[in-house]
Amino acid sequence: MAVDTPPATPAGQAGAQRPPAASRLRLLGSGDAVITFVLVLFLLVAALSVEGFASARNTGFLLLDVVVIVLIALPLTLVIVTGEIDLSVASTVGLSSAVMGQLWFAGLPLETVIPLCLLLGAVLGAVNGFFVTRLGLPSLAVTIGTLALYRGLAFVVLGDRAVADFPRSWTTWAISTIGGTGIPVVVVPLLVLVLVTAVVLHATPVGRSLYAMGNSEDAARFSGIDVGRTKFWLFVVTGVVSALGGVYWTLRYGSARADNAQGLELQVIAAILLGGVSIFGGRGGLLGVLAGALLLGSVRNALQLENVPADVLNIVTGGLLVVAVVAPQVAGWVRSRTRPRPAGPPNAPPARPAPDTRPSTDPAVQVPADQRGNR
């Protein structure tokens, strides 16, 4: 096995254990760097060529549109890095919005309603986590089920009604901006959450254990990581954060509805994949996800300003996603053709286009020494 490929580290950090030349190549090819570069390039081009794009007001509109996507992408990135998926996030948003509306309608103060909604999110996440980690069911199947189940419950709670008489002081806060900058106030707490998630994922043993699980669950388990428990709590956190997204969504639009955020899970997953996270787990970084979400939001915003019809817009964003998934594969293929792979055992399986997604079967290689015995 390729001893110089420690899959337990994110692509962007792999350089430390690599020869310098390879490290530079790796960095250039990493999802994080590429997508950030594309985002910066796109913002420059759009600012120069799209009328009305580069203004404080439009920045505010753009950021408000991606706030909930970024928020939910944070825990979901961790889930995907471990090789699992949670498709029920948007339905959790809808159900917490519906419950928030119903409890507010029943006369409870918002200060009670919001913690209750977050608690509900924890329960919904725990249900997913229970089925996946305790019963060992595939998360794709489980969360397709809860996607329908939670959305259905949202309609049971609120039906086709909308609750909209939330206090104006709260709903205007949800869309208020910092002075004249156009930057929404909510971006500040969101940035704190981004930082916390980035530190957890990239600078703690827990984060490294998530990559280890994503690359080889067995190897992670042999090295002493409690895979089941970690994943369970990841699902719980995803539920809580999605419920928080539901609370914010309700205030931002001033309307609690059962169909709120329908289809949002696909936008969140699109941003994560565009950001270079492997859907098979074990690879990707948070900077890329942030850039992916901002890129999708900016492309939509700029094309709308250019009066591009909605159908074309969907084609463009869909095409972007396909390119994002195909490009690393092509890059990997080019790399494998131009640079001979380090000597491996003769019976090694043929190189997959993205080399470091391949799980190693040797736990000693798989997990860095500092993680052994660590949970």
């Binding site: 009328e51 009305g52 203004s55 007001r57 439009n58 509109f61 549109d65 507010w104 309608f105 006369g107 409870l108 103060p109 918002l110 200060e111 009670t112 919001i114 913690p115 209750l116 608690l119 924890a122 980690t133 305790r134 909308a162 909209a164 008489d165 206090p167 104006r168 002081s169 709260w170 709903t171 205007t172 869309i175 388990r221 002493g224 409690d226 089941g228 428990r229 369970f232 969504w249 639009y253 001033g254 309307s255 509805r257 169909d259 709120n260 955020a261 329908q262 289809g263 939509r300 915003n301 709308q304 300003l305 009066n307 019809p309 909605a310 159908d311 817009l313 969907n314 949970r375």
Partner: protein, 360 residues
Amino acid sequence: MTSFLTRRRLQGGVTGFAVAALVLTTAACGGTTRGEEETTAGGDAAASANPDAEIPEGLAVGFLPKQVNNPYFSVASAGAEAATGEFSGEYTETGPSEASASSQVSYINTLSQQGTDVILTSANDPNAICSALDQARSAGSSVVTFDSDTDPECRDVFINQATTEGIAQTQVDLIAEQTGGQGQVAILSATANATNQNTWIAAMEEYAAAEHPGLEFVATVYGDDEDEKSFQETQGLLQTYPDLAGIISPTTVGIAAAARYLSGSEFKGQVALTGLGTPNQMREYVQDGTVQSFALWNPEDLGYLAAYAGAALAAGQITGAEGETFEAGELGEYTVGADGVVVLGDPTVFTAENIGDFDF
């Protein structure tokens, strides 16, 4: 490996959460509850309208339907575009591909950012787009809603396609004309709890009792806006009431299903059928003589009037206050009613003579 989720850890987590919730709750004791909030500080001191103001050239008019690729809104858009052409404005049509409450918001923001003078929209949710519309208005756009209104505070004028009375009277007059004003009449509705249907049916019975006492309303059946069910309910009506003179179906699904049943039955031409339908669905039944006439508001006129109302707002001819009047091209003069509502007028009646002129 330790056991999954030790009990102590679980307890710890749950307790932590409960404590946090409790702290949050008590910290905000007597927190923000429903119904105690401020009432809105009444509209701005209405700027005065100048009925003689000219519509400026080059007004930017943005049309934002509930969703794109919806035939009803495509026809309305054609009307709005025609009106915009008449007053030499610049017309753009935009909109989301899915009819969701929140998806319209980013399109409103875009229109506002583009400096659109007039925004014409049909709301997917009466409140979700409110703050976006407010921002657009404070940035200088005039907002006209049509077909589906928002909270009246969030727009300048709402174009109502038809009043309950207008819809009820048109349909009863049509059935009275076709049956000679005598005989049993049944109603094929949508669902039993459809608010608009029930309001219309009540208004129809009231109007008929006053104006056409010869008509006897014998039954109301519900086809649930499903083609098959409506078809079967029609069949059932004719078996139960062999002397039935006519059927009114104030829903587009119902009237089309009823027409399909009648056209293939012995009752074709014997039992009158009218209601609310679209010309494209009803064309063949009007041409084969099953149906003499039916009604629906004309979405093209709806868009046309909305565009003129927007231009009148942008020009300062009206402000949305009750009693103001404006000219809407070939549709003539309109008056703004209470709450800034402008009524399009009675529904258009479609017959064999004029059905060829409509395509929606």
